[in-house]
């Protein structure tokens, strides 16, 4: 009798395994909510405000995907993840996608079996030092104490950079950005290193931002982008092309202001028409409604608008577009055509 119960449990497990392989897109639709992994709090990229609403650059990507799939940018369950938990959360199916300034690297793609669907921010690791220290280059940092925010590729890049330049340093790994900042400001470390965008965001919150300089060296390439699990290409396509739709919208001049009128009827530009679903059947191919991209763009605007609103020059973080300008403006942001 015990034997049958035991076999029954095995069968249930097997059935459940079959059910889980049905596809993330269907799961999300059935659930009516998108589970999106974000950081536990990095101002500008993903942070809850005083009312508990998540805001930021990465958050906007989640909202766009939710809008494209479910038609409601608010239908997102934000799951805060740490550097340690993010990959397990994605691999085990706890979240459907991860938009947590995660660097696209070979081993994460190949060994950990994740699919990076694109790049939404080209970043690089930089250094911040007090002006009073009189350092003008990271190569002068021999013997310095360096605060690192752990859980990223930062530790590895830092080790590589100092080894390549044959200089020594003292690493101080810190869990949260707020604590790293405190250590740095109190002088417990000479320099603070993390992604350049994070440094800018951190410096913006200082009492006297002018007393600190960002050193010119960018010691690594950090293409940050959303990722999904390997092996579910339909879902990967949805996230990838939602991101591309935001980028293309900026390139084609589709903004949250004019999208209502542009999507009302087919206009003169065939690519805009295809993007917004007034022509062709791109949405259907993805398994979504025809106006999926319209909803995604309406959620929080096109790529440029999201950038400006969350981390652009008008915000306290004040990042210039730089590498993240459209390719037409000399940047790297480039979307394959909607055709």
């Amino acid at each position: 009798m015990k034997k049958t119960v035991f076999l029954g449990a095995l069968t249930v497990a097997g059935l459940a395994a079959g059910a889980a392989a049905a596809g993330t897109l269907d799961d999300v639709k059935a659930r009516g909510k998108l589970n999106c992994g974000v950081t536990t709090g990095l101002v500008g990229f993903a942070a809850p405000d005083a009312n508990g609403e998540w805001n930021g650059f990465d958050v906007a990507v989640c909202r766009a995907v939710a809008a494209a799939v479910l038609g409601d940018p608010a239908a997102v369950e934000f799951v805060p993840t740490t550097g340690k938990t993010r990959f397990t959360a994605l691999a085990s199916g706890e979240i459907d996608m991860l938009a947590r300034n995660t660097t696209w690297t070979f081993s994460r793609d190949v060994d950990l079996k994740f699919t990076f669907v694109g790049v939404n921010y080209y970043d690089g690791q930089g250094f911040m030092a007090p002006k009073a220290l009189g350092v003008s280059s990271a190569k002068e940092l021999d013997g310095a104490t360096v605060c690192i925010q752990t859980g990223t590729t930062t530790e590895l890049n830092l080790a590589d950079f100092f080894r390549a330049n044959n200089i020594s340093y003292q690493p101080v790994p810190i869990e949260t950005n707020a604590e790293a900042q405190q250590q740095y400001l109190a002088g417990a470390c000479d320099v603070f290193t993390t992604d350049a965008s994070g440094l800018a965001a951190t410096r913006a919150t200082f009492e006297a931002p002018g007393d600190h300089v960002l050193l010119p060296e960018i010691v690594s390439k950090e293409p940050l982008g959303p990722l999904v699990r390997h092996g579910d290409d339909e879902w990967g396509d949805v996230v990838r092309w939602t991101l591309n739709a935001l980028i293309t919208a900026e390139e084609l001049g589709v903004t949250s202001a004019n999208i209502g009128e542009m999507s009302a009827a087919a206009g003169g530009n065939p690519e805009i028409n295809r993007l917004l679903g007034t022509e062709g059947n791109l949405g259907e191919m993805l398994g979504l409604s025809a106006d999926w991209a319209t909803k995604a763009i309406s959620a929080s605007g096109n790529y440029g608008e999201i950038f400006e609103k969350n981390i652009g020059e008008s915000t306290p973080i004040g990042l210039a577009r730089g590498l993240n300008a459209q390719w037409t403006n000399g940047g790297l942001i480039y979307s394959p055509p909607f055709r």
Partner: protein, 432 residues
């Protein structure tokens, strides 16, 4: 020699001298000071050093506390108002108080729900903690988990109702069969409860939560000190029965069961809680059936419950071992079988001895719930280290926040440990 007293003694006093007050050095403040502070020169030195330390502490903290600011909107404004003088910036507490208590996602218009649950908790705990109260009050205790669940998570009332129904049915089945055989009653109750719960699972409609009286709050949105309290209370109450089972298993003379219990207890007690939380966070998801999506709160509750069950099992084992052997032998000689002996003779006494130990475990566990902040849950410490310190307004306010957290924990833990001491004194008199 004369017999007369007057002959032998020159003077005899025939009235008492009026009682004199004690010399000033042996009474009142001076005497107390001398006895308690300056008994020897070394003691006096110690007193002076201590006084100096107290003085240092007070001068360092008092101006800071009393000069504190309670009504600005950011640290920068605080610094402006203080204008260089010493003072705390308690505004962070007044502005973020609700977040510290409830986390940043709990809907503000629903704060009354956890608050009500908190108040009800006292009513539910009272009959457990104070034996003098009428036993009938235990009904409140039994109803509390379901009420609290419904209040905090909201959603359809059917879920807690069916859970309660399962327990009630289980109880009646147990009461019906236990006279024949404990095993029949016990397992029958479990099966009956499971049947009710499965039926309930079938009956409750999928969208029952949509128009529920209390809006459903996902457990991910719980946070702050509420999360610490919930984890502490849930895990301790769940782990007491498991701990009893483990302790009995460890004392059992069935070798296999004994080995299982010993391995479990020693394994759990041998690793730090934080590694178990890592298991909950990064490993446990792999051990559930695919797609079951057990949420983080539940996984953490499972791990912490296992953790405290192992410790409580050891406390209860101590209680079992402390009972005189005669009690076991007396039970046997009355012809009671094992479940009867345990239920009627051994456990009531052993548990009574173990209560102070269990309370100590509970205090330790409650403090350890702060570790969940390491695995990206926003409990009190997690709220402070995460959203609040990371926000632009309050970046750099450490003392005020950690002081508030310390005070909250101190009040609760000190309260419990005072209760435990009171209980110990009471139990001690009972035995004499």
């Amino acid at each position: 020699m004369s017999d007369k007293r007057a002959d032998s003694v020159a003077f005899v006093r025939d009235t008492f001298i009026a009682e004199q007050p004690a010399p000033s050095s042996a009474t009142g403040v001076v005497k107390w000071l001398q006895d308690n502070l300056f008994a020897t020169w070394a003691n006096g030195l110690l007193t002076i050093v201590s006084l100096y330390v107290v003085y240092l502490l007070l001068t360092a903290t008092m101006p800071w506390i009393f000069n504190g600011i309670w009504n600005t909107e950011s640290l920068a404004q605080c610094r402006e108002v203080l204008d260089g003088s010493t003072g705390a910036c308690f505004s962070v507490l007044s502005e973020r108080w609700n977040q510290l208590l409830f986390g940043f996602k709990y809907p503000p218009d629903q704060y009354w729900r956890p608050t009500l649950a908190f108040v009800l908790m006292f009513a539910a705990l009272a009959p457990v903690l104070f034996f003098d109260l009428p036993r009938k009050l235990l009904v409140i205790t039994a109803l509390f988990p379901f009420t609290a669940y419904w209040l905090i998570w909201g959603g359809t009332i059917l879920t807690p109702l069916f859970a309660l129904a399962g327990v009630v049915v289980g109880y009646f089945v147990y009461a019906r069969f236990v006279k024949n055989s404990f095993a029949a009653g016990f397992f029958g109750a479990i099966v009956a409860a499971l049947v009710v719960w499965m039926l309930g699972g079938q009956i409750i409609p999928e969208n029952a939560n949509d128009n529920a009286l209390l809006a459903a709050v996902p457990s991910r949105d719980l946070g702050g000190f509420m999360l610490n309290m919930m984890l502490g209370l849930t895990c301790v109450s769940l782990s007491v029965p498991i701990g009893i089972a483990l302790a009995l298993g460890r004392q059992s003379n069935l070798p296999l069961i004994k080995v299982i219990c010993v391995v479990f207890i020693e394994f759990i007690r041998g690793v730090p809680l934080i590694t178990l939380l890592f298991v909950a966070n990064v490993m446990l998801a792999y051990f559930f059936p695919p797609g079951s999506g057990v949420d983080l709160f539940l996984r953490v509750v499972i791990m912490i419950t296992m953790f405290s069950a192992a410790y409580i099992a050891e406390v209860i084992r101590g209680g079992l071992a402390a009972l005189p052997k005669g009690q076991y032998e007396a039970a046997d000689s009355l012809g009671l079988d094992y479940p009867q002996a345990m239920r009627l003779i051994i456990l009531p006494q052993a548990l009574k001895i173990s209560i102070p130990g269990i309370v100590n475990v509970a205090v330790g566990l409650f403090k350890d719930t702060t570790l969940v902040s390491v695995i990206s849950m926003f409990d009190l410490v997690g709220m402070i280290r995460g959203p609040i310190l990371a926000s632009t307004e309050w970046n750099g306010v450490y003392w005020e926040l950690f002081m508030a957290a310390s005070v909250l924990f101190f009040v609760v833990c000190y309260g419990i440990s005072q209760y435990s001491q009171w209980l110990e004194r009471r139990l001690a008199t009972d035995h004499r």
